[in-house]
């Protein structure tokens, strides 16, 4: 099941770290042609690969396709993978490339039309309306960001990927990713501020 918070994801990461030897054994078995071992690898990394694909594509069916193609591509090249290395960053990068490629071939951005998940637990109808405004503005602001800024920011801030992991996905250095995240945060704060001002005038 997809983990909901970055804390849970990070906890999962440490668990994966403890299971590095187990993962290495799985990889060696996959390299020997054992399909069950491959299923174990898939289940171990499926949620995070799905996160990567979904952050780029914002479409469930497309993300599932990208996930499948990414794992199959990894299987195709597993023979050249060094079993002592962590499998995750490798397959995340494959997923990122696959998703970006699908997005380019799709030729349009869907973030503009992403339905927001406005599931407020607040009882106040007025607050719900305000939240809806805020979320809509945020989504619009996100849609305006360059793709790498947006995806880097979301993967790091919302999905719990480390800067280094995001950097490896894009094949850039960590400093570049930090700059992308900084820029994204700055622009979104500006957008948030304008929403606050509007909300203060309209609802306050």
């Amino acid at each position: 099941m997809l983990l909901a918070s970055s804390e849970e994801r990070q906890g999962s990461d440490s668990a994966l770290g403890e299971g590095a030897a187990e993962e290495e054994a799985l990889i060696r078995r996959v390299q020997a042609g054992e399909l069950d071992a491959f299923d174990g690898l898939v289940r171990r990394h499926l949620n995070r690969v799905y996160s990567v694909a979904f952050r780029v594509l914002w479409d469930r069916a497309d993300a599932e396709d990208a996930v499948q193609e990414s794992f199959l591509s990894a299987l195709d090249h597993i023979g050249s993978f060094e079993a002592g290395h962590p499998f995750g960053p490798w397959v995340y990068r494959i997923a990122m490339n696959r998703a970006l490629s699908m997005r380019r071939s799709r030729g349009r951005r869907r973030t503009d039309t992403i339905p927001g998940q406005i599931a407020s637990s607040e009882p106040s109808p007025l607050l719900a309306v305000v939240q809806a405004d805020v979320f809509a503005q945020l989504r619009a602001a996100l849609a305006e960001l360059p793709e790498r800024q947006r995806v880097s920011f979301e993967l790091h801030e919302l999905d719990g990927f480390s800067v280094d992991e995001v950097a490896r996905m894009f094949g850039v250095n960590a400093g570049t990713v930090r700059w992308h995240i900084h820029q994204a945060r700055h622009r979104l704060r500006q957008a948030m501020q304008s929403v606050r001002n509007d909300a203060g005038a309209g609802y306050g």
Partner: protein
């Protein structure tokens, strides 16, 4: 009221609320994993078939080379052999061997007599020349 609530939110919290990835149910998770496993099984089977084929080729290639070389030799021999019209071949080798035999056994006079006896009836002028020669 709304403004106060907004102030409590951090940017990340607001984004997390509005931009969280749809949670996969256990059934969806299993469905994706099984789909991948099925596709992987097909791919592995195809890869194994390809590997078997390549191994078979590698195993049989030396023999195939030997057979091809042998066939090439036989073919070359057959193709370079002159066509036979049924007549005995008059080769220089045969004449030389015959001359050597007579030279060794009976000398050139005996050779001439034998040749005259055999060829003479067919070529009288040659025999006449022999008889009239000094």
């Amino acid at each position: 009221m709304g403004n106060d609530s907004l102030n409590r939110w951090t940017l990340t919290a607001a984004l997390r609320h509005s931009r969280s990835i749809p949670v996969l149910s256990q059934a969806e998770f299993d469905g994706i994993a099984e789909r991948i496993a099925t596709a992987a099984a097909h791919r592995l089977a195809r890869r194994n078939r390809t590997r078997d084929l390549m191994e078979g080729l590698a195993r049989w290639t030396p023999w195939a080379f030997r057979v091809a070389i042998a066939a090439g030799i036989v073919g070359a021999v057959l193709l370079t052999r002159p066509e036979s019209d049924g007549a005995p071949e008059d080769t220089g080798a045969d004449s030389t061997a015959t001359a050597a035999f007579f030279d060794a056994v009976a000398g050139s006079a005996a050779r001439d007599q034998v040749v005259a006896a055999v060829v003479g009836p067919l070529d009288g002028s040659w025999a006449l020349d022999e008889e009239t020669s000094p």
